[in-house]
Structures are given as C-alpha cells and as structure tokens.
Amino acid sequence: MEIVPQILVSGLAAGGVYGLVALGFVLIYKATSILNLATGEFMTLGAFICLSIMTQTSAPFYVSLLVTLGFAALLGVIIERIILRPLIGEPIISVIMVTIGLAAILRGMTHIIWSPEYRSFPQIFPPEPLDLGFAIVPSGLLWGFIFAMICTIVFTGIFRYTRTGLAMRATASNQQAALSMGISVKGVFALSWSFAAITAAIGGIIVGNISGISIHVGHIGLKVLSVIIIGGLDSIIGAIVGGFVIGILENFAGVFLDPYLGGGTKEVVPFIVLVIIIMIRPYGMFGKAIIERV
C-alpha cells in the first residue's frame, strides 16, 4: 500500500486549510454563541478582493494580502455592528437565518461584481512540488498548509497570551462577569467577527491558490461544519485536530470508496461523519460537555 502515505500527506495538507477556516467558526462561536454560516462567502470575498488588487494594481502578493485582511476585518466589524447586534438575545433560529441571509447577500454581491466564471490565481508560491521520499506534496497544498499553520499559531497565540485574547476568553466564559470587570463585550464581539473574517479570507486565498477561484469556493464553508463538530464547537485545538481528521478521512474516502459508490464520496463523507459524531458525542472531542437531560 504505497498509496497510503500519499493520501495521508494530502489529507494533512488539506486539513490545515479546514482547520484555519474552522478557527474562524470557533472564534465567533466562543465569543458570541453564533454559528456563522456565511463563512464560505467570507472566503470567496477575501479571495476575490486579493485577486483584484493583485491584477488591477500589480501590487506584490504580501501587500495585497495585507490590504485584503484590512478589508476583511472592516467587513467583519460592519456586519457585526449592523446585522448581528440587533439580534442579541433573539432565538437561535433568527441568528442562524440572519447569517444565511448574509451569505445570500454576499454571494449575490460577489457574483455581480466579479462574474461567476473560474479564474486562476497568479503564481505566488514556487511551483516545485516537495518530494518527501514516501509522498509528493503539490506546491499549492504545501504552501497552503504552511500558511494555514502560521495563521493558526498566530491566532492561538493571540487568544492565549495577549490581553485582547484574555478579554475574548473572559467574554466567552461569562459575559456578565466580563462586563463587570470592565471588558467591552461589544468590542470583543466586533473583534471576534473581524478575526473570523480574516481567517476566512486567508482560507479563501489558499483555496483559490490550490484550485482556482470562482463563487463556489464558499462550499468549503459548509464542509468545515463537520470539522468543528468533530473538534467541539468551542475548542480551538478541536478545530485544528478536526481539520486534519476530516482532511485525511475525505482523502481516504475519495480513493477507496469512490470506485464502489460511484464518485463524489469526498463531498459526502464529512457529513456522514458529522451525523455519527452528533449522535454519539455532540460536544466533539475537545468541546465543553453541556449535559442537559430532558
């Protein structure tokens, strides 16, 4: 079975991106208890903005990346302020639906501004694939993985070791207490949304680099739901580990199950895993177990 290490490596590389996008979900969920179903659209938007800046102004990649991240952060704050804040304390269906509505708006806008056809990203990373001896990693996946890992470490670091991160954690664990200790809970909400928008934008750029950009990049946003369910909705470590698990699982499924089931298993296996996890361990591997018996 010389194919197994290759699958493992591809899975790990894809999992890095999933983990990064899942981080965006977790950041928002921890701070505000909202599941942002518009994450996929954030990704698409980020990728398109970055692409436009690069092609229109021929700015180098890192400059356009920084500008994109600025845009993403701003977008996150604006959306939190005008759409999510009026809904604080509303039932869960309203909050879920409002992010879905937001997704529809963003998708439509992206479609109007940038037409729906496929584009490829300009060459950013060196094209040589990395030969590990037992497996070959395509350059897009390799750099995507490295990038995703750097971002994950940076965000985890911010969350763990800075005052801002402390404020975010405090808000996550108890909003009332955080408020009374002088933490601006609204500020934390806005910050979480902009962080999530940034992680999504980076995820979008990486995916765009690997497989080209179209308005369908956002589909990954829904697949990542299975990542956060596996890891636990409120666990950063869970998001990263879950990303790897799903990445590896879907690659294995793509190779071993596709011949029997007629293709497309890569898209459906994450959801089957999701259902199984929800049935046996809804709070995931690392999530906080809230047990309520009714």
């Binding site: 599941l35 879920i96 509505g101 998708r107 806008m109 109007i112 497309g264 898209e267 999701l274 259902v275």
Partner: protein, 347 residues
C-alpha cells in the same frame, strides 16, 4: 379585539371560524381561486402552481420549525424524497398518481423520522447542523443511487389523469394544487388545536416543562418530523408531476433555505404566515424576473444580473424581516386588521 365579540366557552374560543363573516370571506376567496384559471394566463397559472406547492411545503416546515421549534435545514431533501418516490412509484411500479402521492408522503415521513432521531440527543444549533448534513447526504444519494434515481439524467414523470382527463397543462394542474393546498392548510390549522399541536408548542416554548407535564419529548418530536416530512413529500410529488421530470437539481440546499425564509418572512408558528410567506417568497423572484426582462431593452447587461440580484434581494429580505419584523407578514396582517377593526375611533 372586535367589539361585541365575546367568547363564552373554550370550544367557542378554539373555533377556526371566529365569526360568520370570516367563513363567508374564506368561501368567497376559495371561489375566486377556483374561477381564477378562467381569466389568468399560462404564466400566471404557472406561478400560482408554484405558490401552491410552496404553501404545502411551508405549512409542513412551519409545523416542525415554527410550532415544535426544531430547526430543519433539510426540508428540500424531504421534498426530494417525496418527489423521487412519486416518480419511481409511477414509472417503475406503474401506480396511478393518486395512490403514488400519499405513499410518497409516507415514505418521506419515514425518512423524516430517521433524520429526526438525532433530536433525541441534540437540539438547537446541533440539530440544525444534523439536518444540514442530512440534506447533503440525501442530495448525494439522489445523484449517485443511479439504479433508482437515474442520477443526474433524472426521471420523466407522466402527468396525472383522472377518468380520462389528463392534468398536463398549468390550467388543469392548478386544480390539483388547489385541492391539495386546501386539504393541507385545513389539516395544519386543525392540527394546532389538537393535543398533538399543543404538545408541539409546549416543546417549543420549554422542553423541560413539557416533559414535566407528561409530554413524551422524543415521541412528539418524531411525530412532528414525520408530519412535516409528509407535507414535504406531498409537495415534492406535486412538484415533479407539475414539472413532468425529476432531477437532483430540483432540490438543492438553497431550496431548504428558501423554505426557512418563507416561514420566517411569513411568521413562525402561524399557518397564515406560511401561506403569506410562501406566496411572498415565490412572487418576489418572479417580479424581479419580470422587472429585469423589461429593463433589458434599456440595459442589455441586466439580464445576467438576475440570478445574483435574486440572491441579494433574498438575503436582504431575510435580514430585514429578522431585524425589523421578527413575527413576519402574519403580524403585519394582524396589525392592519386590528387597525381597521376599530377604525376610525381606535381609542
């Protein structure tokens, strides 16, 4: 409240028709709907059929999501199960449409109950994600279970017929839709006054309290899933018979969202809301379609803008209703009625 409208018994309070007037209005309205095909064109009837099918689906979803509080992001998949079951029963088994449709409804209800099993353990966000997963899994089954569903090529469905009359035009199919809409709205409206309906609302409002009062949560949640999927199955069967073909593209994830949008825009937990919401969310894209095609003469590029414009309008509608009018069109309607009930001396 209207002057002189006193309730003297609970039975009276629970009546569907609160006064003779309401009854007359309703029969008048049904009469108008029944003679509508004599005046309306083919396009209007096409839209009317779509509205009717959407109403059936929306009533079903409203029973599950609005009344029982179990959010389902997989309604389109249940509609799909009903559609495929109808198509397969008609073409493979050779059953007439009139038997295939209810059986498809029951098959859909059975699938809905299976999907509803996670509701034993999880609720809220997690259930919502589980139903979303069900949507994608069923989508995949529609595409890849070629033996039954013929994959992306789809199945051609012959139009229903009854005693020599073939319902193959918008005009004739309109009557089938109308009958099923009246049946399902009547059923839904009555269901909410029964023990089941009250149990659903109790579960939505506080599941713990409901369990304390002797409502078997799991049983009633499953019943709710089954009823909702039954409605979805009927809507799906009608949809494929109306389009005369069934392919996996008829039941995308976006359709699930559209149904949720219908009941939110219309009003959660209200049958009237489902009707208004279904009509509204079906008519708005059609209106937009008419507008863009008439604007094409002046702005030729506007034609390709239709799809994304639809997305944007759809999203804006959801967000605006959630932020400004969470109780939906039904609440607006109620407010208008109250205003005119005492007009012009409201104080």
């Amino acid at each position: 409240m209207r002057c002189g409208d006193f309730k003297e018994s609970y039975l009276h309070d629970e009546e569907i028709f609160q006064s003779l007037w309401v009854k007359c209005w309703l029969y008048g309205f049904i009469l108008i709907l029944a003679v509508l095909p004599l005046f309306a064109g083919a396009y209007a009837l096409h839209v009317a059929n779509l509205v009717g099918i959407a109403i059936i689906g929306a009533v079903g979803l409203n029973i599950l999501t609005g009344c029982t509080g179990q959010i389902s992001l997989g309604h389109a998949a249940f509609i799909g199960v009903g559609g495929y079951a109808t198509a397969i029963l008609i073409t493979r088994v050779g059953m007439p449409f009139w038997f295939a449709l209810p059986i498809a409804g029951f098959i859909s209800a059975a699938v809905g109950m299976v999907i509803g099993i996670p509701s034993l353990r999880v609720k809220g966000l997690y259930l919502c994600i589980a139903t979303l997963a069900a949507q994608f899994i069923l989508d995949w089954v529609f595409v890849h279970w070629e033996f039954m569903t013929h994959g992306i090529r789809g199945i051609n469905v012959p139009p229903p017929s009854l005693g020599g009359v073939v319902f193959d035009t918008e005009r004739s199919f309109y009557y089938i839709t109308l009958v099923f809409v009246i049946l399902s709205v009547g059923f839904g409206r009555n269901l909410l006054r029964t023990r089941w309906g009250r149990a659903f609302v109790a579960i939505r409002d506080r599941d713990l309290a409901a369990e304390m009062m002797g409502i078997n949560l799991f049983r009633y949640k499953l019943i709710s899933f089954a009823i909702s999927s039954f409605f979805a199955g009927i809507a799906g069967g009608l949809l494929v018979s109306f389009f005369k073909v069934v392919t996996p593209e008829h039941f995308p994830f976006g359709m699930s969202i559209q149904y949720l949008a219908m009941i939110i825009v219309g009003g959660l937990g209200s049958i009237l809301g489902s009707i208004l919401g279904a009509a509204f969310m079906t008519l708005v894209p059609e209106l937009l379609n008419v507008l863009t095609s008439s604007a094409k003469d002046w702005f030729p590029s506007v034609g390709q803008m239709f799809m994304p414009m639809k997305d944007v309008v759809f999203g804006v509608l959801i967000v605006c209703f959630l932020v400004f009018e969470p109780h939906g069109l039904a609440a607006i309607w109620q407010r208008i009625k109250n205003f005119f009930a005492l007009w012009p001396f409201s104080y």
